[in-house]
Symmetry: C2
Subunit: 241 residues, 2 copies
DNA sequence: CGCGGGCTTGACTCACTTCAAGTTGTGTGG
DNA sequence: CCACACAACTTGAAGTGAGTCAAGCCCGCG
């Protein structure tokens, strides 16, 4: 019974036993969601945050006419709901992309961490701003890059994130998103995602086998879209002792 | 000698005198930058964060071929550099858009706040995630909206932010960005920004007089681009006492 | 008076969208 | 084991929103 949350956070700092006790409290309960169901909907009052135990999920926002933007994709060990701390109502819809298991905990458990564990607070704070930097990178990609650069960026980003918790991953992973979802993430239509993926294949950048994606020339892809790795290490030097 | 930082933060919670003392320490020093100069450049090692005392600034990132994305615009009272807390090196370039006065303070002053002022920590945390929500909104606009919607979104966003500290602002403000900078913010070319602004004027949404922007029908603009106000109030109910 | 940066405008181009008609794969029921 | 339903993907043709290029304008400034 190892916790993916503790696994993910230990990647960055050594956790004291007090810290671990506080974190375990966040994973006391759990709940299953099947693929395609919504955990909460935009505008809904949310009192709980979640830790992802298994599965992939994503947050998205709709426009009134049905256009959609996926803004964040989540993997096991991620803490969900930090952005909603600032507001009573959910600022986006959270959907399970695959069957998923989540651990809900009340927002109010956060204040206990703030009061009792400054070092852990600093880490959560840092992860929140790290996510902000990642969003900034996505904004740059969406605002200024071509279709092939954007799709490449997304694949590189997902691979980099999966590597943090799974050292065995080398150059391929299973991508449980269909082409409409990929398009909604990078700001393209499903049709053009299909054409772009075909092109990336015929140019020798990637290979696709059903849902398995393999990056055949990661360095060239990184060069093509000026990808920046943001997950491997963060600055913990200023943290309180 | 009133502090815009304290003014901005008091908008959300009552600050204790201890809190104010900690905050005043952040504004002890100050430094002037003239319009167009860079405070720091992407990749540079940054040990300091800043409070904006006066002027407008923005953060941007370049692509290798010269394309550029502006990712955040700053006003007096803003705390700059939170995203860089996670990394040793600046993740974007910070440029003064007008002549500006900044108060630099070392990153390490933050840990003192984390240890001694949990309530203030919670507020800074909340502001960081509020900024994340704003970035998410911008990502949605950039990824899924048309030129006129994006430009409208930017104008509404700037107006909403200026209103937080300046109650007198009603429907107009001075915009110290040229059309290339507006384009780099919303992902358009300077030429198309010009055409879009002309169109918004002839459709009666806005009027422009040199750098003065007036929103003639704010409700219709909000409706057009499904704008969400994120600055007026945040959830402070869960904060430690 | 001339210079230069920022803005405007029009003609042309193109990356991506839209629409529509297949194809493929997969689960389901008879 | 086949039939068929359905969602996901593919492919091509046509359309369009925004980009590119280029010329001209406006205006503050040396």
């Amino acid at each position: 019974m190892s916790s993916c949350l503790i696994a993910k956070l230990s990647h960055y700092i050594d956790l004291s036993s007090d810290d671990c006790r506080l974190l375990e409290r966040l994973e006391k309960n759990e709940r299953e969601y099947s693929a395609g169901t919504d955990v909460h909907t935009i505008g809904m009052e949310v009192s709980h945050m979640h830790v992802v135990k298994s599965g992939w999920l994503y947050n998205y926002l709709d426009l009134p006419d049905g256009r959609r933007q996926i803004v964040r994709i989540h993997h096991p060990g991620d803490v969900l709901g930090l952005p909603d701390i600032a507001y009573n109502d959910a600022s986006s819809t959270l959907r399970a992309s695959t069957d998923a298991c989540l651990c809900p905990f009340p927002k109010s458990h956060m204040d206990e961490i703030f009061v009792n564990a400054p070092r852990l607070t600093a880490l959560l704070f840092t992860i929140a701003v790290r996510d902000q930097v990642v969003l900034i990178d996505m904004l740059r990609a969406t605002g200024r890059m071509s279709a092939r650069e954007r799709v490449s960026y997304l694949l590189l980003d997902l691979l980099a994130r999966l590597r943090v918790t799974n050292k065995e991953i080398t150059d391929s992973f299973k991508l449980p998103l269909n082409q409409s979802e990929i398009g909604d993430t990078v700001g393209l239509t499903n049709v053009y995602v299909s054409k772009t993926l075909k092109q990336l294949q015929s140019d020798g950048y990637i290979s696709l086998d059903n849902t398995q994606v393999r990056l055949l020339n990661e360095d060239a892809m990184i060069e093509m879209c000026d990808f920046a790795e943001r997950y491997a290490s963060i600055d913990t030097s200023w943290f309180p002792a």
